[in-house]
Subunit: 461 residues, 2 copies
């Protein structure tokens, strides 16, 4: 650390402490330097950082004003569940953890929750349900925070029916890099007053402003569900069935594609059994008003799947049966974490999944890689897990580039839900046209002319 | 017209004609100078404009390149159904009409439509239905164009259940003021690759880029509907019932609030009768899998409404009965168009509608104004129609300002769906904080540094 920055950080630490804002050294809170990005990608956080924990928007504003005056980088941290290195500090400066921002108000008359950035998904769900409402999408790990989920526009398995995080944000309060507080939207379902800064901040990964408070739409309580597990011989059969299920008029809560190998890993970790499986499996979760309706829809789905080559279908109606299936699905990543290089999250037009997966697998095989696939078939967002193999370090970059090129050729995006962060920053530049990339840079400069907010992420100044 | 601009326009006209792009004078197409903004607001279009009708994105790019080189303003025009003067030319230059941009592709496998900007809502609905799918929201007049509806983030009566235009845009192609073509999103449900320029362009009212092509999400075909008309004595009773209906777990397709006087106008124009009405009426449209389900839900809604003070409820299940009710509702505006000063579209937290309406009515009464109200109760978007009265010209500005101040105090927005255009440009500046307004200006400059695209709308450079 240069003497100058050291002095600045000491000075900032003193000012913040005197204002009653907690400040820690990175030595005390080592885990704050990392998120859930697979270690294989070898991110090296800068250790010379201070960690600060403001309790509300005004304290965040105070921190940003000082940081801006001193030109000190600030890295915003939510639950640390990201997979793209978005929360990893890349320069000497401050980590701003939102964990103490715990405002939580449920407005039952206006069907919304007003949450501090540090409220976790679990807290949000529990508070909504305790008020007789629900937060319907399930955008990821339940320790993720509202601020993080909004900043990354988190997706998850229910996006098919309930959309992504963006669809639930009605209003937000944020602090600009210069410390100015802005309030966008509100408890409002419709708002067309000027360019939509709110939707621009959603998914900007904390590089334009610090999201401090969010108004989220809540919905009526959840209905009954059924879970249907269907084994197919081929990915084509499975995806054709997906298209047909949707055309038939049912939008399932979740429509997941899972390869045999992934299920076997999930079974091992969970200790639960998956019903008869094959090479390409679908897990369909449907929601209905009552058991009769669920059975009727489930049987129609079974019929469609058998028409597309499935040998049978396992329909789970009971709570425990369904929970067991979900557990197998949820624990797949846990079981292969150590072997995985990266969790890719390419998004393609849904009907193009088979072509995308087949072309990628064929490239991978030629290059000596094994890739395990599962993901959100209904919305075209597939998670590819390339596994470590001998000498992978030398050739992985080429594999990834090829996957992204194939995605582009099929009209896809290099990231459907995990975001750009550090790990896809170079790829983003290649993915976009020059005009598009320059617009991103101009936007970054409009919000953060000195580049102090999350530098090294998404786009360069 | 100055000689310089005259020469420039003549030169541009020649170049475009030689490229096979149609060009007209404003004398030939006088109606192109106006949109549906009430004449009382006295917008004065600039008549010295040329009207050009490109057929595709490349032709739009060609036009913008020339306009940019010559620094000539360009006004983009869709169906001309806007109510805020967004399509009215405010300076000598070009009107770019999208009416010849009629690309139309339905992708049944990926549940989407790829539309040229000039495709009308009616054409979109018909094409989607002919392919066994549906375009579920109904964002306004069926002669509105896709480009216009995206550029204004159109709302409409079904936003409660199906959301606004923004929720259906998966991808778009647009031309920047300098002629560069950008492609954002695609046939993709999830996309987190960089700042979301697509959502920034949605609702930017043609002031940042010219939207030339849009990928819109389609859904499975529509189900059966029932329409329930419920008369209440007071607006409080009606809105309490709205909250209770939603809490009960039903999200209606539409949940409209209509005052007695508005219904009487609609009856007169349509020649159809509304079932027993009272001061404050609800029109609830529900969607269900079959008639049994509809009757069950409708009866539950009736029970809730009676609990909140309604005397009875009229449940229409037949096609004709429902169409008649819709016709009364649809023709209200037609019947008072001549008398209306402006169609306001404030959006407030839904449960605040009664307070908002009562406070506004009380102010209006004191100032000698009569205001007729109806609107989208379920999503907090109320249409207030102040009627012309003696000497209204002198005092209307104050009335509007007061309404907007009340909206702000209740956490509302000055425009829920009609947008800013010309007519709310000054109000927007007052509605936003200095920091927020400056961000809008920076965004405008990032896209359109010379201010040639729709100048005089939304925000000043």
């Amino acid at each position: 650390m240069t003497g100058e920055i050291k002095n600045k950080l000491e000075k900032i630490s003193k000012i913040l402490s005197e204002s009653g804002i907690e400040v820690y050294s990175a030595k005390e809170l080592k885990s704050y330097l990392y998120d859930e990005t697979p270690p294989s990608l070898g991110l090296k956080p800068t250790e010379n950082v201070l960690i600060t924990k403001p309790r509300n928007t005004n304290e965040v504003s105070k921190i940003m004003k000082i940081a801006s005056r001193e030109r000190i980088p600030v890295f915003v941290r939510g639950g640390g569940t990201g997979l793209s290195g978005g929360a990893v500090p890349t320069a000497e400066g401050l980590i701003l953890s939102t964990e103490k921002m715990k405002k939580m108000e449920i407005d039952v008359e206006n069907f919304c929750a007003v949450c501090g950035a540090g409220i976790t998904l679990r807290e949000l769900i529990m508070n909504a349900e305790a008020s007789g409402l629900s937060f319907s999408p399930h955008p990821g790990d339940e320790t993720a925070t509202v601020g993080g989920m909004v900043s990354t526009n988190a997706g998850g398995v229910r996006a098919m029916k309930y959309g992504v995080m963006r669809n639930y944000v009605l209003g937000l309060e944020a602090v600009l890099p210069n410390g100015d507080i802005i309030k966008l939207g509100g408890k409002l379902i419709k708002n067309n007053a000027g360019y939509n800064m709110m939707h621009l901040l959603i998914g900007s990964e904390g590089t334009l402003a610090v999201v401090t408070e969010v108004v989220l739409r809540l919905l009526p309580p959840f209905r009954k569900t059924a879970t249907i597990a269907v084994p197919f011989k081929t990915i084509e059969g499975a995806i054709e069935a997906v298209v047909e299920i949707l055309r038939n008029g049912t939008i399932p809560l979740a429509l997941e594609y899972i390869e045999r190998e992934a299920l076997e890993i999930g079974e091992k970790v969970s200790g639960k059994r998956w019903p008869p499986k094959d090479e390409a499996n679908l897990m369909v979760i449907i929601e209905g008003r009552n058991e009769d309706e669920l059975v009727e829809v489930a049987e129609k789905i079974e019929e469609i799947c058998i028409g597309k080559g499935a040998s049978n279908a396992f329909i789970a109606l009971g709570y425990k049966e369904q929970r067991d299936l979900l557990e197998v699905r949820s624990l797949i990543y846990e079981g292969m974490k150590e072997k995985v290089i990266e969790v890719l999250d390419v998004s393609v037009p849904p009907a193009q999944i088979p072509e995308y997966v087949k072309r990628c697998n064929s490239v991978a095989e030629k290059m000596g890689f094994k890739v395990v696939n599962y993901g959100h078939a209904g919305d075209g967002n597939i998670h590819q897990h390339p596994l470590k193999t001998e000498g992978w370090e030398e050739k992985y970059e080429e594999l990834k580039k090829t996957f992204f090129r194939i995605a582009r050729e099929l009209g896809g995006s290099i990231t459907g839900e995990h975001g750009v962060g550090i790990v896809k920053k170079k790829d983003l530049k290649e993915h976009l046209s020059k005009a598009e990339y320059e617009l991103l840079q101009k936007i970054k400069r409009a919000f953060d002319p000195d580049g102090i907010l999350n530098p090294g992420k998404v786009v360069d100044l």
